[in-house]
């Protein structure tokens, strides 16, 4: 396939713009996000309100900028948390092997069978809604893709000559992992992390949409969509805008992640020829 860095560059630019706008929201937003102007409810776009207002007369653009903070933060935290946990578990399984590997593989199989949304609903039911239960719900099932990838790649790398050489030279196992194994995993794991971030962003929005994520008076993109739904016919923009932002961000992240995964996996294949079959995780 012909490579299209243009698309990925454009996606990166859009993503950077959105993130920057959300970070600078307090300075960029034309109005405070909770400011109500009941005289201008469900107003169409105008010079005063670029994206119109919602059913309480709150400025949609300001709320979009403010709401992004929750969605992006939780998705980013979940990505980092699951990425670190999954990588550690995957690398340790593949290096130690034996019963530890067996145990983690089994745990992975178990979690793979649990529907993500049901686990999230269950945890929110037990712990109550909020940041922490949301993060926990995403982490409990979310580490498995990272663990599978890290395990398979570590198996691959471990079979290669320089690892054996390092061991013979007397390098400690932790040194080998940090110096020789992890650098080889960095690329593919980064691609995976990017893709997962997009999926987490969508899931966070879904849970907020269901009223199980962010709690009022705070808001995020999913909660905005849910609140706007009864007024969709009168002011379609109130539901179009927050969903479109989630879609655009998720799309950019997916494009970047797929590109990263493709580039780094090609490099892996080229570097590790002749390839060796790995026990599937």
């Amino acid at each position: 396939m012909r490579e299209r860095p243009v698309l990925v560059l454009a996606a990166s630019a859009v993503l950077a713009l959105v993130v920057l706008a959300v970070v600078l929201a307090p300075w960029l937003a034309p109005y405070p996000p909770a400011d109500q102007d009941l005289a201008a409810r469900l107003a169409p776009p105008s010079a005063a309100h670029w994206l119109g207002t919602d059913h309480l007369g709150r400025d949609t653009l300001s709320r979009l900028l403010d709401g992004g903070r929750f969605s992006l933060t939780v998705a980013a935290l979940a990505t980092v948390l699951t990425g670190v946990i999954g990588t550690v578990i995957g690398v340790v399984s593949a290096r130690r092997r034996g019963w530890l590997d067996e145990l983690f593989t089994r745990a992975n199989d178990v979690l793979l069978a649990l529907p993500e949304m049901v686990v999230a609903l269950f945890l929110v039911a037990v712990l109550g809604p909020g940041h922490l239960s949301l993060l926990l719900a995403l982490t409990v099932t979310g580490w498995t893709p990272f663990a599978r990838l890290a395990r398979a790649l570590t198996y691959d790398v471990s079979a290669r000559g320089f690892i054996e050489a390092a061991r013979v030279l007397g390098c400690s196992p932790s040194f080998i992992v940090l110096r020789h194994v992890l650098p080889h995993l960095a690329g593919p794991l980064l691609g995976q992390a990017t893709l997962r971030f997009g999926q987490f962003l969508i899931t966070v929005g879904a849970l907020s949409y269901l009223g199980l994520g962010v709690q009022p008076p705070q808001s995020d993109w999913g909660a905005m969509l849910a609140a706007a739904q009864p007024y969709a016919t009168r002011s379609p923009l109130t539901i179009l805008a927050p969903g479109l932002v989630v879609f655009v961000v998720a799309l950019c992240v997916t494009l970047i992640g797929q590109r990263l995964a493709r580039v780094t996996s090609t490099r892996m294949v080229l570097a590790s020829a002749p390839s060796r079959t790995v026990p599937d995780a």
Binding site: E102, V110, M117, A125, L225, A250
Partner: protein
């Protein structure tokens, strides 16, 4: 093969036991008095008096060790007794079974649609590899996974139900009410299926027996239909089974938006109303079925791929 089967069976059993134990613990770990919560799920009337609560707790064996209580609960569950829903005061099982039927038909329709669409798209993309058709199909189907269901669903309702009045906006009555939910739900599996079919087809196209068939002088279409397509579609079979399990619990958003009285809607209502027995029954059924389906998918995978049986558990 026997070892492979045995390992899968053990994993299946352990998973189901672990999951059911966690579900059993819900009334004990949520805020409030577990004894009162359990009595509420077993006795039809409202119990307020403390001495009556004490008596009922003794009758129901709520002072026994947790393990004994769990085994008793598990026994009742296997007998189809999931207690009474807090909200409706009717047996949970009477709500779970119809909801399960609706979600199953929703999932079957979704996977059928996704499979047909992705086979067409994947085969075309693979045969046109690198050309415009391939690039368009690949890019668009990849974008499908970035579409939030809670956005697409209301937008489709707005366009097709409220503005054009072509389809019903909500409910579950007749084939027309299934069109929008299935369209929304099918988007994500279509994305993954199409890429799997495309990859499978490309692998099959490069296989030696295909080259041999060409060398024997078989026509292009005959080679493709006889030798490439059957092998190329193989990866799709396990993927469909895996997605079957995933969609059972993954239709929450769609069922809530379209007011479909399925399992997703039931779980959502149970959580919102803190209806513990209903949540327990719903989670046990969804997770149990998902685990069985995932194991079945693995077995099919093992049967089709004898090489995996040794390593993989």
């Amino acid at each position: 093969m026997t070892a492979f089967l045995a390992r899968r069976a053990v994993t299946l059993g352990v998973t189901v036991l672990l999951a059911s134990f966690v579900v059993f613990l819900i009334p004990y770990v949520t805020p409030g008095d577990p004894v009162r919560k359990i009595i509420r799920s077993r006795v039809a009337g409202e119990v307020i008096d403390d001495s009556v609560v004490q008596g009922l707790a003794a009758d129901l064996g709520l002072q026994d060790p947790l393990v004994v209580q769990y085994l008793r609960w598990l026994g009742r569950l296997l007998g189809g007794d999931m207690g009474l829903s807090y909200a409706s005061r009717t047996p949970v099982v009477e709500q779970v079974l119809p909801a399960l039927g609706i979600t199953l038909s929703l999932v079957v329709m979704t996977l059928g649609t996704a499979a047909v669409v992705s086979v067409v798209l994947g085969v075309v993309a693979a045969l046109q590899e690198g050309r415009a058709a391939d690039r368009v199909i690949t890019t668009i189907t990849q974008a499908f996974i970035a579409v939030p269901e809670y956005w697409l669903a209301p937008v489709l309702v707005l366009v097709f139900a409220l503005n054009l009045s072509l389809l019903p906006s909500a409910g579950w009555a007749g084939p027309s009410s299934a069109v929008l939910p299935v369209a929304v739900l099918a988007l994500r599996p279509t994305s993954y299926f199409t890429s799997a079919v495309r990859e499978g087809m490309l692998d099959a196209l490069g296989a030696e027996h295909v080259v041999a068939a060409r060398a024997r002088g078989l026509s292009h279409s005959r080679t493709v239909w006889r030798h490439v397509v059957p092998n190329g579609l193989l990866p799709l079979t396990t993927l469909v089974a895996v997605w079957f399990a995933g969609l059972l619990g993954g239709s929450v958003i769609v069922e809530v938006v379209f007011a479909i009285p399925g399992m997703g809607r039931l779980l959502y209502d149970a959580v919102r109303n803190s209806d513990i027995p209903l949540a327990q029954g719903g989670v046990v059924v969804v997770v149990g079925l998902a685990v069985v389906l995932t194991t079945a998918a693995d077995l099919v995978h093992g049967l089709l791929n004898p090489r995996l049986r040794g390593h993989r558990a």
